[in-house]
Symmetry: C4
Subunit: 489 residues, 4 copies
């Protein structure tokens, strides 16, 4: 395989010929430009240069090899060039944001002082890079619905029962038949490497230790194989499928997961187009201002910057190849025909679709509006509506689950117990795990599971329940006023 100098690579930075360097390897991505889910512009920005630092945190390690034919791997940098790149990296002045993060990392409190999921989030918000935080915390449009997901919980109060024996209290349950130490699972949180080099593996290892189940995302920054490799034999892992528009590619993906040992397929149906995450999109502009002060534009009018704008941000890139033509009639039978695994529909947003899901005989539904896109009803309200209008659905499905990935709605044991009282088998959390691993790695993840377990047990005792089965719909009351609470997200 030939080797190249930086000068040689630098010749190829146009649409006609575009090379990039990733981990000292040289790739010709010219033909790939129009296919890149994130758009051509972002690649061209790094055309003829080293793109490792931009590429690495948001792509699985095997992404390039999968998407580029071997012939496009042209060769390696030569030794001198590698040396030069390293020198440049060392000499490169840290950005303001990098220095802020570095300082914040030194000031982190010891883990023993983290008393709640909010404490954990607060630390994470300090130590995450601006870009990572923008991705983790952004929600669609004006972030109204996002906050509504969380506020919904404040409208539900406990009708706590007293004089019941709760000295012994067991919070364990099953999800799709698999054991879980508390009614909580990890919902598909993606791009974990943005916050910590071990990324999703931190979560996998802690989930094993604490006895909970992890659902991994198609968009993980580690591959499904890597994650499974880091898991324990006995550990249960589910797979969140963003179905590819090409059925054959999708089928290969599902079979691969089944072979790897994943125990259920969560078909994602609420994210077929990306939400409008403006905070995420604005992130690079804000960093630019931080570095150089307010930006003045000579003409002050309509000059479109040369590198274009990816109006769908980091998240938009991830869904570009997803199937937008799924239907109950077509997609469920297809999926049944290629796998024996239990199927859960992730993204049910109203009672009508819960009924259709039950009729389609899937194994479970996961109520979610994918982090509050699009002014959809808060999942907890949908759960309550099913309970009020069609409680038989809870019997027809193996499991109904509740999830609020990325939305921050679930922050307390009491929140979890409310959802379980209303009929959810378990509750999936996403963001809290991303924050925890970003701040403290694996032990951060363990910490928040411990906090949740303590809070879940406390809540169960205070409402008068010693097992999960004791949690009943009549223990929760929806009130007609609105608690005066400013939900901070």
């Amino acid at each position: 395989m030939p080797s190249f100098t930086l000068q040689q690579v630098a010749q190829h930075k146009s649409q006609n010929s575009c090379w990039v360097i990733i981990k000292n390897k040289v790739y010709d991505v010219t033909e790939f430009l129009p296919e890149h889910p994130g758009g051509a512009a972002i690649i061209l920005k790094y055309g003829g240069r080293d793109a490792t630092s931009a590429y690495e945190p948001i792509h699985p390690p095997d992404a390039l090899d999968k998407n580029l034919p071997a012939s496009k791997h042209l060769g390696y940098l030569n030794g001198e060039s590698i040396n030069i790149l390293q020198q440049e990296k060392l000499k490169a002045k840290k950005t303001k944001d990098e220095r802020r993060v570095e300082l914040a990392r030194q000031r982190m409190p010891p883990l023993s002082r983290i008393l709640s999921l909010m404490d954990m989030e607060n630390v994470a918000r300090q130590v995450l890079s601006h870009k990572a935080l923008a991705y983790y915390s952004s929600a669609s449009d004006d972030e109204i619905t996002n906050s509504e997901n969380a506020r919904a919980f404040t409208r539900f109060f406990f009708r706590a029962r007293v004089m019941r024996a709760v000295a012994h209290c067991d919070p364990s349950t099953t999800i799709l038949g698999f054991r879980s130490s508390i009614p909580v699972f990890v919902s598909g949180a993606a791009l974990a490497k943005l916050g910590h080099p071990d990324g999703e593996l931190n979560i996998t290892r802690a989930a094993c230790k604490e006895g909970i189940i992890q659902m991994i995302s198609s968009n993980s920054s580690f591959s499904a194989a890597d994650i499974m490799a880091s898991a324990d034999q006995s550990q249960t892992l589910f797979f969140q499928l963003y179905k590819h528009r090409d059925d054959d590619i999708a089928e290969r993906r599902v079979r691969e997961m089944e072979n790897l040992g994943y125990k259920a397929i969560f078909l994602t149906v609420d994210a077929i187009v990306a939400g409008n995450r403006e905070r995420d999109i604005r992130s690079p502009w804000i960093l630019e201002e931080q570095e150089s002060g307010p930006v003045y534009f000579a003409s002050g009018t309509s000059d479109e910057p040369k590198d274009g704008v990816n109006v769908f941000g980091t998240a938009g890139a991830l869904v570009a190849n997803d199937d937008r033509d799924m239907t109950w009639e077509k997609t469920i039978p297809w999926l049944r025909s290629i796998t024996k695994l239990p199927i859960v529909i992730k993204g049910i947003q109203c009672v009508e679709d819960a009924i259709l899901a039950a009729e389609a005989k899937v194994d479970g539904i996961l109520l979610s509006n994918h982090g509050a896109r699009c002014s959809s009803l808060p999942p907890l309200e949908v759960l309550y509506s099913i309970r009020q209008q069609h409680p038989e659905i809870f019997d027809k499905l193996e499991d109904s689950l509740f999830s609020d990935p990325l939305a921050g709605g679930i922050r307390r044991g009491t929140d979890i117990i409310k959802a379980v009282c209303l009929g959810a088998k378990a509750v999936g959390l996403g963001r809290p795990f991303l924050y925890a691993q970003s701040a403290y790695g694996q032990s951060g993840v363990s910490k928040i599971i411990e906090i949740l377990r303590r809070e879940v047990v406390t809540a169960m005792r205070l409402v008068g329940a010693s097992t999960i089965r004791d949690l009943r719909p009549e223990m929760v009351q929806r009130v007609d006023w609105h608690p005066h609470v400013h939900v901070k997200l």
Copy 2:
């Protein structure tokens, strides 16, 4: 025609003899004083002087010629006087507000960084003169209802449907039978020249390019003829009629519009008296303080300033001659008798009047409280009431429309889709177009239409609709709590 010196003109500055200079022409406006819709005082303030800068942005170019007999055009300034005026203008120290605007114009971000209608409004608020912003953004009384128009949208959530084929998604529709690329039209936004020298023409040209329909206002700062002249042959334009109290004048106006090629008459019935726009009225006082510091009044008591106060502000002036005695029995048959164009009643504010409109066999109704005057119910609530109580109205009328001119209620594609789900054929926006053209001219207007198109398509896909017909009332749910959102206007 005789020519005059500045000294000669300066003699005529009283109610007995009042001359003004507009674009170097000298007019005798003595007899017009009592008829001026904006009151005599404001003209007398400029009596004997050059009034061009105050006159131009808020009158159509042909206003003087239409309202003054030829004999009152006395002649021109002589060359030397014209010269003096120009010198004065050059030497005139810019006001603080003018300097602020100048600086803000230099700091405008490139158009590519405008991601939402709020971004556009934020830029416009920076670059508009104080006077223009006061007019564009003022609402009646305490601006409560205004904000309520916008908040109404937050009480309506989507019951989003999943597993529907939405890869292909077509947002186009018709309005009164005319094609529109999205269910949005330009609702009568007036005085566009206050924000940009090309004023309404910016909007007309962008509307053509983007395939949407513009309704122009009687109070446009360009004449209906000028606007039509700048339009494309194939382009659809509607006309918003503020009916003159004199039926003959009104008839001439309608016939003129029909001849010019306007395709529908929107009879405005919700603005027969001006609202109480205190922000607009206060605008000159605030500018005065900006220039000279806080104003002290020797007596500190009740000295009425000599030039009077126009308590109806810029907006008040515009409606002084409107017909305040319109009725269903009289006005609709009259209008039918003089035009073949479709008739839409603009300003329906309750179910009862929607019924009366249908009975009067008009072609459409436009729900609006004219920018939230007078504590009227939010139009979206009226739309919802019609849907709940009298859905047959939607069949009886060719089109029901929804409009929130000047009120800022509609800012997102999701808002538009909510209204369309409930039965609106299309949604009219006013302010966003004024802001867009003020900041970036025609390309600004194109930009926000593009943004709306992208947001409309995204919203359609996320609720599971691939055409406008798929948007159904049951996809929207009115909730009994109130999202915790501070609507900024």
Copy 3:
């Protein structure tokens, strides 16, 4: 009559012998001490000294002569002593609060710049002394109910009607059969002299000029006779009766009013004990701190100050002798037996009592919770309940009125029209008149009546009413959400 020196008076400053100087006259108030409605302590504070400045603004000029036997008027100060008092007054350093007020008076805007009742209140808040503002603006307890009175209006929206002839619009009406130019009257606002030397007379004169009716309070700072003397022959005045616990004294009062020419008796039943106006009580302490900096108390514990604390404040003093044992059975027949004037019960707070009032055949009721004491329902909600549950009451009574004295709930013409739509014959305002006369005297009062007239007419036209009779209950809708408005009081 003997004359005294300051030294002689100064001997008498104890409970055993207490003299005070009022306008250079010397009074022996020893025996009056226990009877003083405001408590003995406040008189003893001025014992042996000149009390004019404290006495004057909160007592009618004839109060002393009425309450003290002639024998207790001991005589006058001698000339030298009078001279000394005047010198002292001149030399007295102004307090910080007096200087603040003086400066604020110089900075008042011209009356033409007052566009709303809120503008007027803002000016008044600048130019009122701390003590006067504390009295005018204080409300009971935590001032929650006060703000609720105002917020109630925001829950009622207009169902505005269009296409109705409103070019001619007549806002005049009658109250108890007497003509009023708008459906507004002056509700008993007391102690007007605290804000302006002409006090209530400012209001009387402006009411005459503007054609509205004034109800004067038992606690006016001018006597009922003085006020009537300043009124026009043709002018209508009502009298607000705080019934004395002694029926004979009360009877004399009523007969006096009838003889003076007052046209109706408003029996106040909602103020039998003073509310808990803590802001009013705290007023002197705050002034003390303003003068001398933060107060340190050596012991820091429980030393009660010698002069006691009047926990009922200025307002408390005024109700000390009121009858707390009034009943429907006893009091109404008694009042009927001593006067031919129409009787209105001021202070109805629920539907049940409105029914009892109608059964007792009084001429009218005035819905009020006396400035929002005691968490009572907002009067507008009570009005709405009567309309919903017992609309026949409106027929049985000559007039139902609506009042919000001191509570600030009514600030806009739209507010007035809402109450009239629901069945109120007219609306009584108190505070706005106090503020207006404090700031600009008589012309201030005229100004706010003009503003209200303009706003009332505008609101009538916009809802489609050309006379008061056109205002109907169905034009108002109570909504189930709460407008997001921070009512500032």
Copy 4:
């Protein structure tokens, strides 16, 4: 008995041998370490040292003697060592928090300026140590429910009745048959010594003077015997029982109370696990930062501090031995069998349990969610639900009471009257008494009872009630809107 030097004691500071000095006595607590309700870590922190200042405010004086066998009292410090300790104490630099408190104590206003319970709380918040305030004011989780307890009162308005004789007004009542001067009692507020050296005794003495009943807590900082000893013969005291998990210990406790003269047992059932009082737990960390500036942690990661963290805080320690297996079937008959005293269940949180309590034939129920733990419904809403759904419960029980200990919901006489109207026999307050005694000792407590009496009488008169029996459910209306009030806690 032997005497020891400080050096000798200092040898014993490990889990193997742990001695502490309390008031110059030396104790061997090694074997007690695992049994300490507050955990071993906090004792080990003081191992080998003087622990008096940490021990004293949160333990009854007889706690050590009761819990340690006599043999573990090893002896006394020798004279020289005692001397050294005293010298150290004198030389010890005061902490920032101690200095802040000292200054605040000097600036306390005289008691006469305290006009409301909020005033009292504000003073107390200034003069309490950080630790004491954290304990007194902390509530569970995010302190949402806490604030909801208080906000519930704002949703209930009076339907005030007029024209009723209220000159004579008697606010006295009985509680479980015992006389009380107002419908208020002291609900079990614990650890009063944290705020004042005389602690609960301040409350006992003032309660006697003002004629109200005190319920004392198992966790008082004085023993039940001490408190009874300080009470008057005629005075009524109730006892709040936290039942020990060992029935025999619990029985001894109950019999002791009966013998001491307590008149009723309030069995606490709503605090079987401690809430999650994070503010309380964080208190020492915040003090640490105050002293030494922000804390940096070298590793910045997961080092657990050696002394552990008591995640249940001060409050958690107190419930560690409580019985978590109480049931209606077992516990009530047991309690009946060992005492003749009336039994009240403290902590009923829903209608269902109120019914069960009546069926179990207890003498009373106390509605409480123990200071708003766990998102339980606000007690006032539960009271209202009982009134609406099962009013017969009020007849079946001797007394229903209402309590909001530690939660701050009850702050005004109007609040008390609302609860009494709805059916509560009396209302228990906790925090206000803790604050009052902390700031002003016994006279502070008397002061707030006087304030409450004045406010109760005022509220009764204004709603038209002259005795407690006149207060009826129909005098209170629950409204469907939410007053706009920011409840400060």
